[in-house]
């Protein structure tokens, strides 16, 4: 039963990403061609709302359901891994038009070919795990 809330968050997430067209291959292409404001509007207002939420929570007005302070994990300091890893992900994002969330959501909409993309993404993650210690971070 404690998992049911995560299931509902996931359902909500899936619906929002389909209805916002953020899972559309075409919208991602359009964004990277600077031909529409749509995706920038979505990402921009999501971040603005997120900043506002976290600033309010910092003042102590919002706690977790367990009553603790909200906790956002701090990313490790660095540059190389973020820029190179980011570029590699960006290449894939614009190619298949889907980041890791939309890959699953599109599967739900009936795009069965996403199973191949997901399997390859798991393989890519595995490859990173194998090569991790040899890569600059």
């Amino acid at each position: 039963m404690k998992f049911i809330k995560y299931l509902f968050v996931g359902i909500f997430f899936g619906i929002v990403l389909v209805k916002s067209e953020a899972v559309s291959w075409f919208r991602i292409y359009e964004m990277f061609r600077f031909q529409s404001f749509h995706m920038y509007g979505i990402i921009g207002t999501a971040i603005a709302t997120g900043v506002l939420f976290l600033q309010i929570s910092k003042k102590g007005h919002i706690k977790t359901m367990q009553g603790a302070d909200l906790y956002v994990p701090k990313k490790d300091k660095g540059f190389t891994r973020y820029i190179i890893g980011g570029i590699i992900f960006g290449l894939g994002w614009a190619l298949v038009g889907a980041c890791p969330g939309p890959m699953y959501i599109l599967l739900g909409t009936g795009v069965w070919s996403m199973l191949i993309v997901i399997a390859a993404a798991i393989a890519g993650t595995f490859l990173y795990g194998i090569l991790k210690n040899k890569l600059p971070h």
């Binding site: 909500f12 980011g86 570029i87 890791p100 993404a121």
Partner: protein
């Protein structure tokens, strides 16, 4: 009901995505979809090959539940909450894509030329899907997050590493959409 069935405007969608992040933080968790790929590796026994996959994956089952929900959400959205309005793309984008050989840009969420089951008969399509997936899986883990973990959660919490990662996302995306895709299609 048209406002539900039609595509939602960006100024509604963005804040709703932030609510997903806020709800997970309220539950004491973090919004990050690419971590699930690592969890799936660990469940599959990847810990035998790299310590990177040796962790208590059972602690991540909540996130796989979000994934399951997202799949169901995708199903509900197209079958019960949509009409056939299609995506209102920029006319220039549509013309451009038609010149590249895409027949009905925006008619569906993804182009048939890449994602239909018939398209799988072509080796080019298959390679494209596999290479795309590999890049996404490798890149997100190398960068330590994807659009949800870095662009939404990381930038909302004003973290410099996430800003660098998101700049990387855009460099990669711009190179693919502007330089490489025109060569492929």
């Amino acid at each position: 009901m048209d406002f539900i069935l039609n595509p939602w405007p960006w100024y509604v969608s963005g804040p709703l995505i932030a609510i997903v992040m806020a709800l997970l933080l309220y539950f004491g968790k973090t919004f990050g979809m690419s971590s699930n790929l690592r969890t799936l590796c660990a469940i599959g026994g990847a810990g035998k090959f790299s310590d990177f996959f040796k962790f208590k994956w059972k602690d991540q089952l909540w996130n796989l539940t979000v994934v399951l929900g997202a799949i169901i959400g995708g199903f509900i959205a197209v079958h019960f909450l949509s009409n056939d309005s299609g995506t209102a793309l920029n006319p220039n984008t549509m013309t451009e894509l038609q010149h590249m050989g895409f027949k009905n840009p925006g008619a569906n969420l993804v182009p048939d030329e890449i994602f239909s089951l018939e398209a799988l008969a072509s080796a080019k399509t298959l390679i494209l899907l596999v290479v795309g997936g590999l890049l996404v899986g490798f890149g997100t883990r190398y960068a330590g997050g994807c659009t949800s973990g870095h662009a939404i959660t990381g930038l909302s919490s004003l973290q410099m590493p996430s800003l660098i990662a998101v700049i990387g996302f855009f460099i990669g995306g711009l190179i693919m959409a502007n330089l490489i895709l025109p060569l492929i299609f």
